[in-house]
């Protein structure tokens, strides 16, 4: 009988694991909280109006439709039993239990506020489609507010954008907001000049894009400053509230920046499932809550349980798509062959865009910046989303956005603006699910 493989998560790790098993005699069940596979590296383009959510979040079900040995289950994993090898998934009151012979856990990571979870209401992260749509509403909404406010300080507050964290996401978001204000929106307003917008990128360490090395980090900083982004290095965020942020520099000096729109791109925290798993297996977790796995990506005492992607801690590997993809494929290969081998990560390089025609890339020993890096970035990202059926539209959206400086996806809706706080006020499980019960028979 075909072995049962349960995969938790539809991100890079989970999806590529499922696809790597497509020719194997296994029964795959992929359980995910979202119905889409999220191409997270482009999420900032949704938040800044370039791409629609559908382009970077294709339905997982659609991606796997032709893979007959795989089924996709929308649901949240609420229980995990390593002894009886069972996973319980819930979707609005409907509970399903799945047995497994092999389990691949790839539930990813969320934003970390380093113990200050209340920051989240004021400075959303950029981890989910909801986050991106909400930020889109906040970014474009701030310009709208500025247009109707005559009081200069409040107007300036609306036109001040603070991005926390100068990793790839922070750099990309800051660069895009700067470009938006200097180029895209230049002629759209009458009372304010969007070009007056202040974009501040705050980073705790002494460098932009730390993972890219000093030279590329320096180039990125230079490019950002050319765009008009204020880059504050060695600066910590000590408080965030509705009116702005409080900062502290290395010398212990504190000051505030008043800002209506704050974006948090600093730090990640493994999904809560990591702790459940670690507790049961007696495995260790690191500071970001990631599970310390064995070299073959399994957890101690459970050669049938693999952890891949952002939930996994191994050899200081970074939380990037390639680690998740290769990890998922490595887990799949071991399931297919039955042989356990250590995971070897092949670093294909990393890149970050700063603005139109401007990026940095580190590929092997090659360091690129400016236009060549941007062209490489475009090429590689297009290659990756091929296979998800979105490439033509993505390319077209990009071309339009880049050639015209336009942004075709600027819709602000009420749900984007207010939903997060409203949902928090009413509780995470609101509304209560409809009762699942037999009804009086239709007449």
């Amino acid at each position: 009988m075909a072995k049962k493989v349960v995969i938790i998560g539809s991100g890079f790790g989970g999806l590529f694991a499922a696809q790597a098993l497509r020719r194997e005699d296994v029964e795959i069940t992929l359980i995910s909280k979202t119905s889409h596979h999220l191409f997270q590296p482009l999420l900032y383009q949704v938040a800044t109006g370039i791409l629609s959510e559908g382009v970077i979040a294709p339905s997982t079900r659609e991606v796997l439709r032709r893979q007959r040995n795989a089924r996709v289950i929308l649901g949240e994993v609420t229980e995990l039993d390593l002894t009886s090898r069972k996973v319980t998934s819930q979707l609005r009151g409907a509970t399903t239990v799945f047995d497994y012979d092999h389990l691949i856990v790839a539930a990813g990571a969320g934003q970390s506020y380093f113990g200050n979870d209340h920051f989240d209401a004021f400075a959303p992260g950029l981890k989910t489609v909801d986050d991106a749509l909400e930020l889109r509403g906040r970014i474009f909404g701030a310009f709208e507010m500025a247009e109707v406010i005559s009081e200069p300080r409040e107007r300036n507050r609306q036109l001040t954008f603070v991005v926390v964290g100068a990793g790839p996401t922070g750099v990309e978001v800051a660069g895009q907001i700067a470009e938006l204000s200097r180029v895209t929106l230049r002629r759209d307003f009458r009372s304010v000049d969007p070009g007056d917008a202040r974009v501040v990128l705050v980073e705790g360490s002494s460098q932009v894009l730390g993972a890219f090395g000093q030279r590329l980090g320096g180039k990125a900083k230079h490019e950002l400053r050319k765009l008009g982004v204020e880059v504050l290095l060695s600066t910590k965020v000590v408080d965030v509230d509705v009116m702005g942020v409080e900062l502290e520099d290395a010398g212990g000096n504190r000051w505030r920046i008043e800002s209506a729109c704050k974006i948090w791109a600093a730090g990640v925290q493994a999904a809560p499932l990591a702790k459940v798993l670690a507790d049961q297996a007696g495995a260790e977790t690191d500071r970001a809550g990631r599970i310390k796995v064995l070299p073959d990506l399994t957890i101690p005492g459970h050669p049938e349980v693999f952890v891949v992607g952002d939930m996994m801690a191994l050899d200081q590997l970074p939380g990037v798509a390639q680690v998740a993809i290769q990890g998922g494929q490595h887990a799949a290969k071991q399931i297919a062959t039955g042989e356990h081998t250590p995971f070897k990560y092949f670093d294909k390089g990393s890149m970050a865009t700063i603005a139109r025609f401007s990026a940095v890339a580190s590929i092997g020993k090659v360091r690129l910046s400016g236009y060549p890096a941007w062209a490489a970035w475009l090429f590689i990202h297009l290659l990756y989303i091929i296979g998800f059926k979105s490439q033509i539209t993505a390319l077209l959206h990009w071309l339009i956005a880049f050639l015209t400086s336009g942004r075709s996806e600027r819709t602000i809706t009420r749900q984007q603006i207010a939903a997060r706080l409203a949902l928090r006020a009413v509780g995470e499980n609101y509304p209560p699910p409809a009762p699942i019960r037999t009804q009086p028979k239709d007449k």
Copy 2:
């Protein structure tokens, strides 16, 4: 000095009025609750995953960016004073008052539940981008739920879609859900066959597409039935709850249909501003709350105040885009020339799509159905959205959707699923706006 023209609403009436005044020596202020112009006739395509919201909801500000005599204000009109000629707009605590010499009121209409406003939580309408995104989540979400439910009655409830009202929107939504279930999603599920989905179109009158005449209505009904839509004519909805709908036929027989996803496409109600305006001017309103205007589209005693589009009642004109467009242009022309002339509506015809390659159209004395009507529909809609910069992407999205039966915009987010109820629970004005006040000076 240039005359001040205030336009309320960024729909067809308001936007086309603004554009018609582009060469005049006037100062235009267009105030709207949404930052986008909504191409409402295609909203059902957002709800069913074909188009992204950005394609049919371009930023009003972007559309009018080069029109230097126009400014766009995001805000809700909270006060209107016909005597002092002032309009007050609010945006999250920021209040602005605008004087006018001429006023064009084009705030449109919302869904009407005929006195049963509580239906709205269970059966959203299709009037706003939020509505469309929520329905998208509900429609695709129902299939996801069905996939994880083993209890047959509940599974069937999830796979039963009830569309109320067989006007163009109802017909288009019912047709698209049927096509989605029969074609697009056919291979996407493992436990359920989406083709088993039951799509019920409920209409109180004895005909589908009443405004199109008996012959085309009959064709549309036939096409819908061929697609597998159950068409219930002369049937009223007497109750809607979370589990389903209660129906009553012409003979007074009542029965229930258990359905998780209900869509309301019956009846409209003019925006509340209509009542404010009518009360002040002593004008009459009709049953749908629309203001009875004079033949030149002004209200009695106020030749400087025009009402156009879905807020206006005149000669039984239908609530369609063309009436709003031509009304807006007629108001603009009278403002430009200073001469008041009666509005003459030129009926360019009407059309409704049923599915891929299937539509009905009534243009002058010509009646088209099937493929020719669909081709005409496509051509005309493309022509109209030209000028909103979205035509290439819209065309491409359509082509992909039509050629592959795919749907590239299927993203379900938590905000789509739960935001409406959560926002209702916490109150319409949640969260309270941040105080607008001077802050301690930045250090």
